[in-house]
């Protein structure tokens, strides 16, 4: 548990060797395990970029959050092509695959660390989309609670039955977050 009397600073950095990932605990074993077992190999394989939220005090730091982004495509659900209106059936996108905050930070309701990290992730995606393309941001909410979280932060349903994916246009994120 974080000592409330400490002067702490927070910054986001790309995953690199040397960080103690095993100490990270967001309360969801699947997210903890992904960070420890798969994040580095996913980065090494060029599949995704992983960003760590670091909590720093003097010369020590610890991992208190992370998110992963990867290029993907949004595909129009299957309908007769005669009904489509001439634009491509798929569009390049960025997927916010994981976003997790340490249980210690989640206890700090005032700071809203989930939203703090989500804003950083969206700003990162807007930046990479400006440099390398991509028109849409998608998230896969693992459960209905997360659907509510993303919906409260501007994401919309993809309209696909039984699917917990949500989306936001990059143009919308760019306008709101870089104005």
């Amino acid at each position: 548990m974080t000592d409330p009397g400490l002067e702490l600073t927070y910054r986001v950095t790309k995953l690199a060797p040397g960080y103690d990932l095993g100490a990270f605990d967001c309360g969801a074993p699947g997210y903890n395990e992904w960070l420890v077992r798969h994040a580095a190999s996913s980065v090494q394989a060029g599949v995704s970029a992983v960003y760590l939220l670091l909590e720093e005090h003097e010369d020590t730091s610890r991992v208190v959050g992370y998110y992963a982004i990867s290029p993907t495509q949004v595909v129009r659900d299957d309908v007769p092509k005669s009904l489509s209106r001439g634009w491509p059936q798929r569009v390049p996108a960025w997927k916010l695959g994981k976003l997790a905050v340490h249980v210690d930070l989640r206890a700090d309701k005032d700071a809203q660390w989930g939203r703090q990290l989500l804003r950083d992730a969206l700003e990162t995606i807007v930046s990479v989309a400006d440099a390398g393309g991509g028109k849409v941001i998608v998230v896969d909410a693992d459960n209905n609670g997360l659907v509510g979280f993303y919906a409260r932060n501007g994401f919309k349903t993809t309209g696909t039955e039984g699917d917990l994916a949500l989306f936001m246009k990059v143009s919308t994120a760019r306008k709101a977050l870089t104005a």
Binding site: G22, A23, V47, T60, S61, V74, R85, R119, T158, T160
Partner: protein
């Protein structure tokens, strides 16, 4: 870079066994490559297979969108929507140093 003083938790993933019949030539090639990297053949093959599998899965992963939602989105793909939720997010006092 600094790291936490907290002890690292050791997590040992469960092991599985994979057997494959391959040509002797390929076996020689793998043996040479593993030796050049200074790793065991098992480590070499499993690293290569992991990278290949992750790439295939990533390429295969797409997000399906209902046709009417897709069409509406594409009609104004480069035009920002009004998003009170995002505008509120943008005003959140910043705790992460830029």
């Amino acid at each position: 870079m600094t790291t936490s003083t907290k002890p690292r938790k050791k997590t040992t993933p469960p092991k599985a066994r994979l057997e494959a019949r391959i040509d002797a030539d390929l076996d020689d090639l793998i043996t040479q490559a593993a030796q050049k990297q200074g790793v065991s053949k098992t480590a070499f093959v499993s690293d290569a297979a992991r990278d290949a599998a992750l790439k295939v899965i990533a390429r295969a992963e797409t997000t399906l969108m209902a046709a009417e939602v897709f069409d509406q989105m594409m009609a104004s793909i480069d035009v920002a929507d009004d998003s009170p939720e995002l505008e509120e997010l943008a005003t959140l006092p910043r705790r992460i140093t830029q």
